[in-house]
Amino acid sequence: MVQQLVRLESNQEIAQGMFLMRFDSRRIATSAQPGQFLNIRATQRWSPLLLRRPFSISRVVGSSIELLYNIVGKGTKALSAQIPGEEIDVLGPLGIPFRYDGLFETAVLVAGGLGIAPFPFLTDFLEKKKATIITFVGSRSLFKIDMLHLRNVQYATDDGSNGFRGNVVESLAEYLQEHTLTAPKIFGCGPTKMLSSLSRLAQAKELSCELSLEGDMACGIGICQGCPVERSNGTKKYALVCTDGPTFDCREIKLPSP
């Protein structure tokens, strides 16, 4: 884990309201693993805002780090205004990466909206491991992500403008009806509601499934106790998203039912 100022190489809107940010950090690049995140401040634009904001590491290219984010509030707005050459303050890599146990052959990546963020990094990793990859991407409407490093993408849109009409979990369910996958493992990332139904689908089908959760964080490093998620069992009621996650086996945790 390092805390450092890095200078932006680029920060571009690559699709409607979606930004790709890139900066150089050898120290993060060499230690990061897929599923981990960074906790970030846009030093030159942030000052009204107190806390850092967590973002998944979207891809590592050489010594460059890429982040993918949506403007949803003041912090992401400030981040999007930061221009190449300006500095941001980065803390990470943080959290538990996606687990690779070698027990699966087909990796099923399921993303709701910006949930695609950690998947380019995971895809690179899985390709090295020679896993078969299939990626389900859900969004409200037509959504162009060709420039992202994903494999074998199956789209689902609420309005049917691209691929399956409906949500991404329904699209996966239909796919699983129609296809048989060899030794699959699901990796899910997206809004809590979507993860919650993905978790139920995986458990119903008895499929191995890991989820990357979001949560309101103050510190990102386990000192504020601000980011609990309910555990399914054990003596401790809550796990911390930042240090026990953000990746969890879907059976470990109890998400609020949608």
Partner: protein, 313 residues
Amino acid sequence: MKTSFSIGNVEFKNRVLVASGTFGYGDEVKDLVDVNKLGGIVTKSLSWKPRDGNPPRRIVETPSGMLNSIGLANVGVHAFIREKLPYLRTLKTKIVVNIAASSVQEYCDVLTLLDTQEGVDAYEINVSCPNVKEGGLNFGTDCRMTREITAQLRPLTRKPLIIKLTPNVTHISEFARAVEDAGADAVSVINTLVGMAVDVRTRKPKLSTVTGGLSGPAIKPIALAKVYEVAQAVKIPVFGIGGIQSAEDAIEFLLVGATAVQVGTMNFVDATASARIVEEIREFAEKENLDDVGKLVGALDANIKHSVLQSWL
């Protein structure tokens, strides 16, 4: 340059500590910062049994501040002694263990157990806790109860006993005087202010517990006024707490009468800030040609005759 100060026979190497609940148990950040640079570490509040804490959502950012409703989630005093204290013992900084409880008896039990342990240098008592006997009313807003807790704990230890006061009262100096009178060695001022936030779309409070505690730079002016009020009222040392982000902020607290400060919320933003503040206070004192940082304590140049005007805001 003298940077240290003492409470009883405990010598703190400098006047910057990290506040309870904002630095974990010291081990989480050891990759980022040399914790031995700090004047001391105040632990997360400990209760007798482990506490799960409140349901999410526990954190809300507000303008220049944050609300929290952690619910005193903590490992409990037994696990603390087993799992956390051994590491803390290896540090070359003072360890102040903060205690929270829901009955006077629980405060006494936790302190008594801790007092048998090596590596605990002092106690800070969090009185912003629900008094279960009195239906959950806050101990800390009841001056009689605050005094009672102090009086009961005092004979149980020879180590420094620091009472951490809540700012959510009309005259905080009354509380400070009461605990001084009951034998406290110092007071910490302030804990968080009660606040809330609402999601207008769902019409629900943003925090699961409706209200929570406000901290961060937003509250610094209030904290300074409370510390000033307390420092005028008591002779025992005061730890100044609330919204400290920089050495300048910390020095403001020293000037109004704090013997030392604790940095809280800022640790979440930048875990290296507290150690940097230690350094920058020393530099400031050097520039001011002081031989002891302590010469800043209470050195406010205030024209007292104006104080009556304060009410005519």
